[in-house]
């Protein structure tokens, strides 16, 4: 549900929070691994968009197989966060994750 590919694309967007607002930190997470179809073309297309530091931080080098794309596939598409929250490293805003759907809505006073 929240896969690491999504986590890699989301930044804190609260009012005035423009620096150091990425990557969001996971906490209290319930992790799940679910197999997914391997699609090398999709991954190749996505490579230039990945923020590597964020990905490494999030995945803590979980896997050690040889093929880079396979590893990426596993990390990006098969690692799901079902429950927990994501916290902005800058402003501390907490985005809760429930049943795999992160709630990125901001309250009125947080809209910039």
């Amino acid at each position: 549900m929240v896969r690491l590919i999504t986590h890699n694309l989301l930044a804190c967007h609260a009012k005035g929070c423009t620096t150091n607002n990425y990557p969001l930190k996971f906490s209290n997470v319930k992790l799940a691994l679910r197999e997914a179809d391997f699609n090398p073309d999709f991954l190749r297309g996505f490579l230039p968009r990945i923020e590597w530091d964020a990905l490494v931080q999030a995945s803590r080098e979980r896997c050690s197989t040889t093929d880079l794309l396979k590893q990426l596939h596993h990390v990006l598409l098969e690692t799901h966060i079902d429950e927990g929250s994501m916290t902005c490293p800058n402003c501390g805003h907490v985005y809760p994750i429930s049943n795999g759907i992160p709630n990125m809505l901001l309250a009125e006073h947080e809209i910039g």
């Binding site: 999504t6 989301l10 967007h13 679910r34 999709f42 795999g100 990125m104 809505l105």
Partner: protein
């Protein structure tokens, strides 16, 4: 190899979508397609010239509106004309003479031809001299003969047993190449049989037609920022694309059970793994880390996302209040105690903002596909200019009912900043709003401002029953 002609038999619905769909599928598979000048989209039969047989098969497999594709042998306004042409196409069918098993099918458009008359028609083709076995169950080739009538009175009737030759507008003859296989998807995606749907779910056929406009195919990444109950996610994912969805109202995506409704329906269709993720947020306050995200396919440099304007429910055209007031579900969830207040969002401003947003989020060559609710009688192509911005070009637009399906392509590789969604800017002008986003366009805008797009203030027009506005000063008050 010179182009061959193929007879396309269309389903009898959504005739406005026929040509746009043919064009999209041709673009998806990367082959040239010329629609002949005399192509009449209101007729159920069309003859297309294609370079390769394979291209005709691609059309049959992907076009929702195609019932079957035939290798074209002859057409005529009379039996004589048809048979004469068929004799001159001998080189196309003579290879089937010696020993190919075959069957003949005789069809009338919106009219049944009696068995006795069918046999007569078939016997008229005896000069072809097929020597092979007649096999009605599994023939090697199927020959199709179609009559199209001008007289609407005979529609829905069956011809009498001894009624002779019919007066028809045109008759067509050819060899069956492939039955359209995409049409059965309409049944498969039937909303009534879906595990999860809502009052905003889109009917299966339209969601499939829209999926074809997005050129959904394996490896592409599609984003639906108004995913709702996921109608578009299932069809685009079925064609192999990855889909990311977001909505301001998480309850729409979740439904009542623990497992989100969209994922339940996606599991039913076997596309669960291609729904990348779902997210709750307001698209005008989005958390995307950067632009240029949605694209993917390097081979066919085209792509992407149906940013969908909900088309049925005018209340949803407001920014958000509309949704909340309207869908006060009995199952608001604990994790979303906060429902953001919302503001009305004038439709032409929303449309213009979406185009700017798409320019930010799309990769070069990516596509924006959406339904624009509008007043069709007043609709003009000029309306689109009011929402376009630099670097975005209209691929095609077609008006159908109270809405217009618009496909826009990102034609620039320049990276643009994200849109501001500033209501002051959006509502500042007296006319079209999108222009105001680009400073350089704003100054010479007076002639553009003179044109008020038909979809402007659609909500108000809708509730007033589309009565023509009295020439009053109220336009200048806003």
């Amino acid at each position: 190899m010179p182009p061959r002609q193929y007879l396309v038999v269309f389903a009898q619905t959504h005739e406005d979508f026929r040509v746009p769909e043919l064009r999209s599928v041709a673009e998806l598979y990367g082959f040239p397609l010329t629609i002949p000048h005399d192509f009449d989209k209101s007729r159920p039969f069309g003859v297309l010239a294609l370079d390769q047989e394979e291209h005709a098969r691609f059309l049959a497999r992907r076009c929702i509106l195609i019932k079957a594709v035939y290798e074209f042998y002859a057409s005529g306004r009379s039996y004589e004309e048809l048979h004469e042409q068929n004799r001159s196409s001998r080189n196309l069918w003579e290879k089937y003479i010696p020993e190919t098993s075959f069957k003949f099918v005789v069809n009338g458009y919106n009219h049944s031809i009696s068995k006795a008359r069918q046999r007569e028609v078939i016997e008229d083709f005896s000069y072809m001299g097929f020597m092979g076995k007649i096999d009605l169950v599994s023939p090697e080739i199927t020959m199709g003969y179609f009559e199209e009538y001008r007289d609407r009175d005979i529609h829905g009737t069956t011809s009498q047993k001894h009624e002779g030759a019919a007066v028809f507008r045109e008759a067509f003859f050819g060899r069956l190449l492939e039955q359209g296989s995409a049409r059965s998807l309409i049944k498969m995606f039937d909303v009534k049989k879906r595990q999860y749907f809502g009052n905003t779910s889109m009917e299966a056929e339209i969601s499939l037609l829209m999926a074809n406009q997005t050129l959904a195919s394996p490896g592409k990444l599609i984003y639906d920022p108004f995913i709702g109950t996921g109608s578009l996610a299932y069809t685009t994912a079925h064609f192999g694309a990855f889909v990311f969805g977001s909505d301001i109202d998480g309850r729409q995506m979740r439904g009542k059970e623990t497992k989100p409704g969209i994922l339940r329906a996606a599991t039913q269709y076997g596309v669960r793994e291609r729904i990348l993720d779902l997210c709750t947020f307001d698209i005008t306050r989005n958390p995307w880390r950067c632009g240029g995200l949605f694209d993917c396919d390097h081979h066919r440099s085209s792509v992407v996302p149906p940013i969908r304007l909900p088309h049925r429910n005018p209340a949803r055209k407001r920014h958000h209040t509309g949704i909340c007031d309207q869908l006060r579900h009995p199952f608001a969830r604990e994790d979303q105690p906060y429902l953001p207040p919302t503001k009305p969002y004038e439709l032409s401003a929303l449309a213009a903002d979406l185009v700017v947003l798409a320019r930010y989020l799309l990769n070069p060559g990516g596509r924006l596909v959406f339904f624009l609710p509008t007043v069709i009688d007043e609709y003009k192509e000029l309306d689109l200019d009011s929402m376009l911005c630099d670097g975005m070009e209209v691929v095609r637009e077609l008006a159908a009912g109270f809405r217009c399906l618009i496909t826009i392509r990102k034609s620039t590789s320049v990276a643009y900043p994200p849109p501001t969604f500033d209501p002051q800017v959006a509502h500042g002008g007296s006319g079209s709003s999108g222009i105001d986003h680009d400073g350089e366009d704003a100054s010479p805008a007076s002639p553009v401002h003179a044109h008020v797009p038909a979809h402007r203030d659609f909500r108000e027009k809708y509730f007033q029953g589309f009565k023509p506005k009295k020439p009053s000063s109220e336009e200048f008050d806003t």
